[in-house]
């Protein structure tokens, strides 16, 4: 084995080492990026799910309710209303609420469970990363009504805002959580 061959082996070993280090570094970065992007994606998906659920339900407030109140309770974080959600002739009772005091769940200390109960189903809820859930109510001329609203028959539109954050931090051990904010004034046509 000559000096030249020895130099080749040392050189190639050095290059291999650099390559392995590069791969390890890239892998670590990609893993971290994937973790963060997955967390962001989940947050976005959760916010869209919550938004669609709220729109689906709230637009049906009072549908098919010919007698009696259409909204039972209207507070800043609680709403109970009636409506035929699936258009089957049966009036459903829907409750949206958060626990008071707010029960924090998950790795993200800001998140809590937003409950959405249909009729008499038992209380259960998934942690979708909700960190803010707030509602305001307006009468027919756009005046905001003080909460809890009484009588609820004054309500003609509902302003909803919520924020969803990732239930896990972007980087393990960090306290940064990607989030999405949604706000909308909903005009249930049956009110």
């Amino acid at each position: 084995m000559g000096t030249s061959t020895l130099m080749d082996i040392i050189g190639s070993t050095f290059i291999l080492g650099i390559l392995i280090l590069a791969v390890v570094a890239v892998n670590a970065n990609v893993s971290e990026w994937t973790f963060g992007s997955t967390s962001t994606l989940n947050t976005q998906q959760n916010s869209v799910e919550v938004a669609r659920l709220i729109e689906w339900d709230f637009l049906k407030i009072g549908y098919g309710v010919d007698a009696g109140p259409k909204i039972m309770l209207a507070d800043s974080t609680r709403l109970t209303f009636y409506g035929d959600l699936d258009r089957n002739g049966t009036i459903d009772k829907i409750r949206y609420y958060t626990k008071e005091p707010v029960e924090r769940v998950g790795l993200n200390p800001n998140t809590f469970i937003l409950y959405r109960l249909l009729n008499d189903e038992p209380e259960a809820g998934a942690n979708l990363g909700v960190t803010l859930f707030w509602m305001a109510y307006y009468d027919s001329v756009g005046n905001q009504l003080s909460t809890p609203v009484d009588p609820t028959s004054y309500i003609k539109s509902i302003q909803v805002r919520f924020m969803v954050e990732s239930i896990i931090p972007t980087v393990a051990g960090d306290t940064t959580y990607p989030g999405a904010y949604w706000e909308k004034r909903i005009y249930p046509r049956n009110l």
Binding site: V26, V48, R87
Partner: protein
């Protein structure tokens, strides 16, 4: 050594490919998620717009179903009507999203003046002139001017002073069937005329017009005549249905038939009959006339005009499509 290098490059390429896939896949999913919500909201907006279009189509008396496109979106609305209730199913499609709404609406007429007589003259110190064979008849008539039953007073005025003026002026062969009554509940025309003017199908400025048809029994129209500073003159061969709104002065003569409501308001207003119409036609108002103006405004009948009350003609005018509004009874989406 060469084989090893090739294998390493292939392995690295494979790893880079996987990393690229992982990195881009998240972005793709995020974009798909966002575009899905965008498509959903866009589809909903299309369905809402479709309902508005369908109401307009109903107004134009076109038959269901109504269909159309908005950019890349499509919509269809099916309607059925029972009496004044309109059931509507609105569907829309955009990208891979679809949306459906079930509506029940009640159709009603926008505010309409309360008709108290064949001719209501809410004018103090009215200048009421009759010469010839003018007739005002408060009995109820059909659309052809045939008497179908008892109706309303012939004329209402603000006070007994104007009542005396009218009674003293009407001498045979002119006549008022139903009498003259003073009323303090005469309609405030300012509540109505703006809406009518904004929705006018035809508008006329001062001048002379003839040979006109405004609408039909099934499609009454709103006609606005701006008779200021000088009069709008209809000299003959005019046939109309609906609401005729006049601001200022109007002169009606010749062969003129209008079925519905005539509103004259503002300033010195004149409703005249053609002074040369002794054999050339008879202005014929089937429905009602409501007139309000400044003190001393003039109502003048010459020749052979007929002002007859018709609840049927008034009802057709009241329920015309342009004056229709909808109340939501049920709305599912």
């Amino acid at each position: 050594m060469g084989k090893m290098a090739i294998l390493m490059i292939l392995g690295l390429s494979f790893a880079v490919g996987i990393y690229t896939y992982i990195i881009t896949q998240r972005s793709v999913e995020a974009t798909e998620n966002y575009s899905s919500y965008y498509a959903y909201t866009n589809t909903r907006n299309i369905a809402h717009s479709a309902v508005n279009i369908a109401l307009r189509e109903i107004e134009l008396r076109r038959t269901s179903p109504y269909e159309g496109t908005f950019g890349l979106g499509q919509w269809r609305v099916d309607t059925t009507s029972v009496g004044d209730t309109v059931n509507m199913v609105a569907r829309s499609w955009y990208m891979d999203a679809s949306y459906v709404m079930y509506l029940t609406l009640r159709r009603y007429a926008k505010p309409f003046p309360e008709i108290e007589s064949a001719v209501a003259l809410n004018i103090d110190d009215i200048e009421f002139k009759v010469s010839g064979q003018g007739q005002i008849d408060g009995r109820d008539h059909d659309l052809n001017g045939n008497i179908v039953g008892p109706g309303l007073p012939g004329v209402t005025v603000p006070s007994p002073v104007e009542s005396t003026t009218v009674v003293n002026e009407v001498m045979p062969p002119a006549s008022i069937d139903g009498g003259v009554r003073s009323s303090n509940t005469m309609p405030d025309l300012s509540q109505y005329v703006e809406e009518y003017i904004l929705n006018a199908d035809y508008t006329y400025n001062p001048g002379t017009y003839s040979s006109i048809t405004w609408g039909s029994a099934t499609d009454p129209k709103i006609v606005y005549c701006n008779g200021t500073p000088s009069q709008v003159k209809f000299s003959g061969n005019v046939n109309g249905w609906g609401v005729l709104v006049v601001r200022g002065k109007i002169w009606i003569g010749g062969d003129f038939t209008f079925r519905g409501l005539i509103i004259v308001f503002g300033g010195l207003s004149v409703v005249e009959k053609d002074a040369l119409a002794t054999g050339a036609g008879t202005p014929n108002i089937i429905g009602a006339v409501v007139m309000a103006g400044a003190p001393g405004s003039r109502f003048e009948m010459k020749g052979n005009p007929k002002f007859v009350y018709s609840s049927e003609a008034i009802e057709k005018a009241r329920l015309m499509a342009k004056l229709a509004a909808y109340e939501i009874l049920d709305w599912w989406e």
